[in-house]
Subunit: 80 residues, 6 copies
């Protein structure tokens, strides 16, 4: 794992939509942590972007990550 760059400073976002974007980022970063070669990841991209089974599985990951982010932000209802 060589993602030494700091990419996750906080789970707090201003809006729910930014929370969605963070959820997607977290999912992508997990994949990058396992397949560390960026070139390989690029080649693999079309494998899942055109396979509905994998698109749905990706949406599953995003939904789980978003649960965490939404809870962290108290569902953007009150001050955090």
């Amino acid at each position: 794992m060589d993602n030494k760059e700091i990419w996750l400073e906080t789970l707090i976002t201003d809006t729910p939509q930014e929370g969605r974007e963070l959820a997607i980022k977290m999912a992508i970063k997990s994949i990058a942590a396992i397949q560390t070669d960026a070139e390989t990841r690029k080649k693999l991209r079309s494998d899942y972007a055109n396979d509905t089974t994998q698109l749905i599985a990706s949406a599953n990951v995003i939904a789980i990550e978003f649960q965490t982010i939404a809870a962290a932000n108290n569902y953007w209802k009150t001050e955090k």
Copy 2:
């Protein structure tokens, strides 16, 4: 990812059923965030709408998204 349009302003909905609709929307938007080409998504649609394995996997995603929305709305029991 080019869904710059704001489509998720709040997790709060008036009714549980609107919460279901939002859960479905969130699942669809996740897929759109990965497969950004609308034409391709349209072509892929029949792939999953006729494959029960994928329909069930989609229902799994919706169930997870709905958990988040239901918690955000305090299960539509009390004032939010």
Copy 3:
């Protein structure tokens, strides 16, 4: 999506068992929201009712939906 009919007015049920029934209904409605043609759904039914992999995947969805319903009902322990 043309399930304009109101089928989910509340997550509150009188008993845990009714909560299970609602969980199953929610899973089925998710599938109906994606595969909107009732005739097609009917034809697809035997695909998953006889395939244990899909039966188990369906049970996974029901388990997630039930988590939400059980939390909404405070696990049927106290007044809601």
Copy 4:
């Protein structure tokens, strides 16, 4: 769905282990709700009992159901 028999009166169990048993029962009942024919279910049983992929998927369902039961029982820590 013809499981009209009342099989889930409460989520409360005396011990964690009884909670596990209930989780397994809930998973089995979900499958019975979709594949309503007992004879067919019996025939299908060997399909998953000998397929590790399906055994693991079943364990996933049981784990989710148990989460709900454990929360309902306040993790068997204090009075319920």
Copy 5:
């Protein structure tokens, strides 16, 4: 199901690591509850221990079980 032996007296463990061990045990016991024949389970073991898809699916189950255990132990932060 013939796991009448009492193997789960409590969800409380002294340390997070013991919580991990319990999570693994719970996953294994679920499989044993469905495939009750120990000899068969032994034979099936190499099926999943050498298949990364199944190893990952097993890790998914362990992660869910651990969520429950960690919550039961209040994340090993304070007295339980």
Copy 6:
């Protein structure tokens, strides 16, 4: 299972990013607990690092583990 080494002393981390790293570690340790032979794991690695389905499934596990860690750390919002 022969991971007698203590690798999980606490779920508390200083930052969300360290929480991600711990989530990845937990997922990897689960796999090591089932496939105990390090040589075999090494050989299997290319199986999943180049298969997007398995990369996504791995990301699913990481997302679940991270939920637990994030809750343990109160989402890194307040003192723990």
